[in-house]
Structure formats: C-alpha cells, structure tokens
C-alpha cells in the first residue's frame, strides 16, 4: 500500500497508510521542534514540554490519557530528540477517533497547570540523574558537548540540570504555544482504518486550529573543526569506555547514503528504527579489529541522521586489563585502513543486503511503520528513507572509502574516554 499525503488548510500534513489486516491502528504526531530550537537558559524545555503533554488540558483531565489508552490496552508514549518531538498511540482499530482526540487536545489545549509543572520538575531531574548514573550517557553528553561549540547540539536533549532547576512554567507554556501548531506538525495514521472516514475525523479534530508563525531557525552554523578535540571523564566505575565522534554533514547531504554503508561496514547494521532486537553484528571491521583481538567487549558505529551537521560515532567498551589507549589506536587503525583502501566487494554486498532486508524488519507492524513515516517527514520527507536506502544500493566500494577519507580524519574528530576508578564503590 502506498502512503497518501494530505495537507489541511491550516498547514497540517497528514500521512495515511492503510494496512487493512492489521489488528491495530496507530496515530503519530511529530513536531518540528527539538533541542536544536532551544537557547542557553532553557535547555531541556522541549523535553519538559513533552512531559507536560501527558497531563491533560481541554477535554482531558490529568491522568485521562493514561486511563483512556490504558483501558483500551493500547500503547502510547512520547520522545524528544535534537530535531523533533513525537507522540503516538496504538489502539484497537475501532478507537482511532479516541487517539485523534488525544492528539488534538495535545496540539493546542495542554493545561500546563503550575502545580503539575512543578511536580514534573522533580520527575525530569530524576530522569536526568538516572542518566548520570550511566557512564555511557555521561560520555555521549561530553562527546557532543566538545564537538559542538556554538550549535544547539552542544547541549543534551534533556537539558542542563541548572536550567531544569530554574525554568519557569510561563517559559515552557510560551515555547509550547509557539511550536505546537498544525503548520509545524505531521499527523500519521497507519493500520486498519477507512481513509475517507479518517480524513473526516482529522478535519473535525484539527481543522479548527489556526497556524502559528514559526520562529526562524537559530541560524547557528558550527565552524569547521580544525584539529582533534579530546575529553576525559574520570569517575568511580567498573569499565572504561571510548567514544570517537567525527563531524559529518546533515541528513539531506548526498554523502548520507555512503556514510550509512560505511556504518554497516565498520560496525554492522541494525536498521534505523527503534526495534532492532537483541542482535549483535560480528561481521564488521570494528568487531574483528577490537573484539576478536580481545581489546574490547563490544563495539558500535552510528551515523546520526540529523537535520544539521552532526556526528558519526565509533564506540567501544574496553576489555578488563587492556589499556584504553590501545583500544583507541586499534579503532583508529581500523578507520585509517578504510580511508586508504576501499572495503571489499563482499563487504559491500553484505552491507547492502543488510540495509535492504532490515528496512523490511524496521517496518513490521503499524507502530514501527508509523514511527518511520513521521520521523522522516519531520526531518526531511516521509519518502526520504526509502529513497536514501535505495541510493545506497547503487554505491561502490570506492564511494565508501571516499567518505571515510573525507570525514573520518584525525583533525575532524573528538575523542572521549571514560576512565573508571576501580577503587571506589
């Protein structure tokens, strides 16, 4: 089935993808607002707003969203990223209208009750502190912080704790009213539903909303990196970790396709969705060079698909008794080798097949498909991923070597190490 696109008069983009035999229908709404829209002082506001949008408003009282979806046996959640904020409900097919009603109230009528906002401050700080407990989360935060000096990717999506302690309810509400508007959103319905009836209900729920002028993007362009940057976190712990971030272009850049194939060759492929499963790739350069060599216990490579130039991240957990600098050298050698000599035809064939087949795994079921359609419509367009993965299929080994050489150089990287102090406990 093809995906049908509609646009309401108020600018709301609607994607409909029918799966008549599905046992469920999913409604996703994505907003073109993420932590990249924040400024110093209100870091974490996007994520906090997301939390507030589960607390009622309009026809919905506090706790109603949980209760309504709960009694239907549905799934629901929200996610905030650097480039977008996204919500969904997956429910039995005869409850599509309920999901649409919830999303409509969420778009324009959220309550932002002052007492609830204050209670949520504690929840969000707790979420941040849970992340601080994790060495890899700390290291990831440090990596992006060092790699970007000016661009909002400099701060974490959850925000700095000092901002979370300070932000006022009115700042959040203003931020919400500015960005949560039909002309800044994408609504996706996937599953068992009638398209005609669905569009009637979408128009009834969302049609009355007026568009809002959207503020111009910050326009901050990160200056080119002119030399390696390094960061170290020394803290009590049990394992050392290494992360290397290479500055790479934005998703719309033509080099995104070869960078994805490079990711597969370097660190294996697990699709682009959130439902990769418990699988470990062992047929990749980093695994062979670091884990098989007994230097690391796990490795990974990830080309982040971002609206603005971002990072290609190589990471490893250092095996006990191994000097982290040895792991860094080995990872650098793996990368350097790919910069000098293209991957083999067999490696490319494997990578391309994995990318093609995992695209099917990624789209299994209405919820997973709804996520991909909405996510890519928000950061590019909903056909972008299909086109991108198709473009990968025509790439040759030299295309992969070229982007490795262009972006994975020493002067273009930030190296962060978590050195665990074993004595504390």
């Amino acid at each position: 089935m093809a995906t049908a696109t509609h646009t309401l008069d108020n600018g709301l983009t609607v994607l409909l993808h029918s799966m008549p035999e599905a046992p469920a229908v999913t409604v996703w709404v994505g907003y073109k607002v993420g932590s990249r829209n924040e400024r110093p002082g209100i870091t974490g506001a996007t994520h906090w707003v997301e939390h507030m949008l589960f607390k009622g408003g309009g026809e919905l009282k506090k706790g109603d969203i949980d209760a309504i979806i709960g009694r239907l046996g549905g799934k629901f959640n929200g996610f905030t990223d650097t480039d977008f904020t996204i919500y969904f409900e997956t429910v039995p097919p005869d409850h599509l209208d309920t999901a649409l009603m919830i999303e409509a109230e969420r778009m324009r009528n959220a309550a932002f009750d002052p007492q609830e906002t204050e209670a949520e401050r504690g929840v969000i700080i707790s979420e941040r502190e849970g992340g601080e407990n994790n060495p890899k989360v700390l290291l990831f935060e440090e990596l992006w912080h060092l790699a970007f000096h000016a661009h909002p990717y400099h701060w974490p999506v959850i925000g700095w704790k000092t901002d979370l302690e300070r932000i006022r309810r009115d700042e959040l509400y203003e931020y919400y009213r500015q960005h949560y508007a039909p002309n800044n959103a994408v609504l996706t319905i996937v599953g068992a539903f009638s398209e005609e009836e669905a569009m009637r209900r979408v128009a009834a729920h969302f049609g009355p909303f007026r568009p809002e002028d959207q503020p111009a993007p910050s326009g901050v362009t990160e200056a080119p990196q002119e030399g390696e940057r390094r960061g170290v976190i020394r803290r009590a712990g049990t394992q050392d970790h290494l992360m290397i971030g290479y500055r790479v272009p934005e998703i719309a850049h033509p080099d995104t396709a070869p960078l994805l194939v490079l990711q597969a060759v370097l660190g294996g492929w697990h699709g682009v969705g959130l439902l990769g499963g418990p699988f470990v790739s062992r047929s990749n350069r980093l695994y062979r060079g670091l884990v098989d060599a007994k230097l690391a216990t796990d490795v990974g490579a990830q080309h982040a698909l971002r609206r603005d130039p971002g990072l290609f991240v190589v990471e490893a957990t250092v095996r006990e008794g191994v000097d982290p600098s040895k792991v860094e050298r080995a990872a650098s050698e793996v990368v350097e080798k790919l910069r000098r000599k293209p991957p083999t035809e067999a490696e490319i064939a494997r990578a391309l097949r994995q990318i093609r087949v995992w695209h099917a795994y990624d789209r299994d079921g209405p919820t997973a498909r709804g996520l991909l359609l909405t996510w890519f419509e928000v950061i590019a367009n909903h056909r972008f991923l299909d086109d991108l993965l198709e473009r990968c299929q025509s790439l040759a080994p030299e295309d992969v070597r070229r982007v490795a050489d262009a972006y994975l150089g020493e002067d273009n990287r930030t190296v962060c190490t978590f050195l665990a102090r074993r004595e504390a406990g």
Binding site: A24, A119, V123, E129, G237, G268, E320, A360, Y361, D364
Partner: protein, 416 residues
C-alpha cells in the same frame, strides 16, 4: 491462536506458526531448556553465548558472515530456566537461516578461542551490572527473595570466579546433556505458510537428536524477609526495589494477581504507584511493579529510581500505596479498566511478527493450550474482582517484602 499451526516432531521439538504476509519478513522466537538452573555456575551462560560462534564445520567468523550475508539475524541469551533464541529472516532466506540455526544447535564448535572472548564479555557484563544501581539492586533482590540455594536466586551469568573457571569441556558436556530437541520450541511468525513449516522448518529441525527431556526446576520456598544496601558513592540516583515470592505462571491465582499487579503498578503510566510517586509527588522518573511468573514459581516486586534526598519520602509513599489496598481496595471501575486493558493489549501487541512469535512461544513454553489466545479474553473477564483485591492485599504486603537500596546511600536510615 485459531489461525496458528502447532507441529510436534518425533524428536520432541515443537514448531509453531502464525502466517502473516503483510510484511516480507519472518520473526523467530525459540527456546531450549538449557538455562543456568541445569549447570554449574557460569557454564550455561557461556554455552548460550557460544551458540552462534562457529560449528564443527565452520569457524566463528564464517558463521557470522554466513548469517549476515543473508541479511538474517540470530541470537541466543541465557536465563534461569532456558536460553532464548531470537531470529529474523525473509521467506527467501528462511531455509538457509534454519540450516545455520540447526547446525549451531547440533554441532557448535564451543572452541577455546571463542570461549576466551565470551569470558571477557561475561566478565564485562558482570562488572557493568555491579556499576548499575538498578541492575545491581534487582540482582540482589532475587538473591534475597529466593536465596542463592535456588536457581532463581542466582545470577544466570554466574560470578567473576565462576566465569574464570569455565572450561571448554564443561561447556561441551553441558551442551551434550541439555541442547536436545526434546526441550526445543521454535515459533515463527510472518511471511511463510503451513506448507513451508512442514517442508522447510520441520525438515530442518527433525534431524536434531532428541536428547533427554528437561527436568523440572524445583519450586522455590518463601524466604524470611531481608534487606541489603549497596553503596555506590559516585552515583547521582538511588534505586529501591522490594519484593517477595509470588506464584508460578500455571498457578490458579496467576490471573487475579496479574490483574492486581497491573492496577497497582503498571496500567497507564504505572498504575496507582506511578500516579502517586511520579505524577503527584514528582519524586521519581520511574516507579512501577512487576510480576515475574515462571515455570516453578515467581516473584512480585516494586522498583523506583529516586534522588537520595527523596528516598525516604518515596519509599514511604510506596508503602502507603501498598497499605491503601486494604483500606481503599480496587474499585469496580479500576477492575473493569484493567480487564479491558488486558484484552485490548493482547490484540494490539500482536501487531508485529516478533511479538506474535513471542506470544506463540510463551503459550507453548507454559503449556497453556493451543487455543489459549482465543480463550484469553474469557479467562480475563472471568477473574473474580474480590479475588483481585484479596490477592493484592496478601501479596503486596510491604511487611513481607525483602528490599534492596543501591546508590549514594551510605549511612542512610531506611525502613520499608
């Protein structure tokens, strides 16, 4: 489950199929009753991790290349009772994927070089767990609830000492004794039909040796209430977990207790517990309860991640919520909502092949009957509301729970 197919092979393996051609992929979910309960500490963990790392016919590298060249995926993870097998492939690659799966089950190399790599991974995982407030607390709670004398009380990974001691001959002996087809379940969902199940899947699996049928795990005995503190001064957040022995999946009280647990600490954003601890008091990002019902027994637990300065208040709030179950039992409306949730969730959760294969597997694993998915709504609707209230009060009694707190909590005085 009316549209599903079940095939019991002569060697004892059971195959299950759900046909769905909406997505051009196949999800595989299986298990072998070769968990940590059946071996010396650490051996089952290494055997599970070594499963797809080479066979007598191909090296570890050749095996991973063969799987990944297909665009397929196969993995195995160890637990207390069984190892779990997960797989993905397409109709086109099903036959080749199953050949690699059965070759791995029948004749894994269990080579020393791979065991050394696995040993490093296990040690790394044990250390990561020691440094993770939530995992460390949860692990310790299992020891308190079941005691280390019972397989459910021991870490399926073993400990650092056992991980260092495992030898290839231990793993080979364990594999020979426990990886027979008699304890094998394979559920497949997706782009295949009954004919393929018979011709491709059954023909790949029927060649496996039956081996011995798995012995049952003995039932755990309730332990006396205990508590433990795991100080981690370098952490920002503390984790609190409390729990006690509950029921096996086959116990007649399971359905009432499952509904009670749903209402107490799961439905919506964590039920009554989440409403109070997270939503109203703003003390924690997560605060929920779990019912872990296995073959021979199970346990109920409650968890919360909290800033140390809020810990006393959060633990008190959890206790008050548990005690409230007697004074303010679940209302008729709550129980109605819980029942409709369970029925609706079954439908919604079967939207993906991986989930459908998982559901088919679990039905077989717990011997719930081939018509279980069809009967499930009636089973849920028939649960007596008074039984739900009584089981909640009896099982979620904080004074009967063992508890653990981990994180920057040295010197903290805590009671539950």
């Amino acid at each position: 489950m009316s549209d599903s197919v079940r095939l019991a092979l002569d060697n004892g393996a059971v195959l299950l199929l759900h046909e769905d051609h909406a997505n051009p992929s196949i999800a595989i979910r299986g298990s072998v009753r070769a968990g940590a309960a059946y071996g010396a500490p650490g051996v089952a963990e290494c055997a599970a991790r070594l499963l797809f790392r080479g066979t007598t016919r191909r090296s570890a590298a050749a095996m991973s290349d063969a799987i990944e060249d297909l665009g397929a995926a196969l993995s195995s993870t160890n637990a207390e009772e069984a190892i779990a097998i997960h797989g993905r492939c397409t109709a086109e690659t099903l036959k080749a994927t199953l050949r690699l799966l059965t070759e791995s089950l029948a004749s894994p190399a269990l080579a020393e070089t791979e065991l050394e790599k696995v040993r490093g991974e296990v040690l790394g995982d044990i250390r990561a767990q020691q440094d993770d407030t939530r995992r460390a607390a949860t692990r310790r709670l299992s020891e308190l609830v079941y005691s280390r004398d019972h397989p459910y009380g021991r870490d399926p990974k073993g400990d650092e000492t056992s991980a260092r001691k495992v030898r290839p001959k231990d793993v080979r002996a364990f594999h020979g004794a426990h990886y027979g087809a008699a304890g094998l379940i394979l559920a497949l969902s997706g782009d295949l039909d009954g004919k393929t199940l018979q011709n491709t899947v059954a023909s790949a699996v029927e060649g496996l040796d039956a081996g011995s049928p798995p012995n049952p795990v003995r039932a755990p005995k309730p332990e006396t209430r205990k508590s433990a503190t795991i100080p981690m001064a370098h952490k920002t957040q503390a984790d609190f977990v409390a729990g006690r022995v509950a029921v096996a999946r086959s116990h007649p009280d399971y359905y009432a207790l499952n509904l009670a647990n749903l209402l107490f600490g799961r439905i919506g954003l964590y039920g009554r517990l989440g409403t109070t601890v997270r939503d109203t008091l703003g003390l924690a990002y997560y605060s929920f309860s779990s019912l872990d019902a296995r073959l021979a027994g199970g346990h109920w637990s409650v968890s919360a991640g909290v800033n140390p300065k809020n810990l006393v208040k959060a633990v008190q709030a959890i206790r008050v919520e548990a005690e409230r179950l007697e004074k303010e039992p679940f209302t008729e409306q709550e129980i109605r909502d819980g029942k409709t949730h369970l029925v609706g969730a079954l439908q919604v959760n079967l939207e993906r092949n991986a989930e459908y294969a998982g559901a088919l597997h679990d039905v077989e694993y717990h011997a719930l009957g081939t018509d279980f998915l069809a009967r499930y709504p009636a089973l849920v609707r028939a649960v007596d509301p008074d039984s739900v209230r009584k089981k909640a009060v009896a099982c979620f009694d904080p004074t009967a729970c063992s508890w653990v707190v981990s994180g920057p909590v040295a010197g903290l005085k805590l009671a539950f």
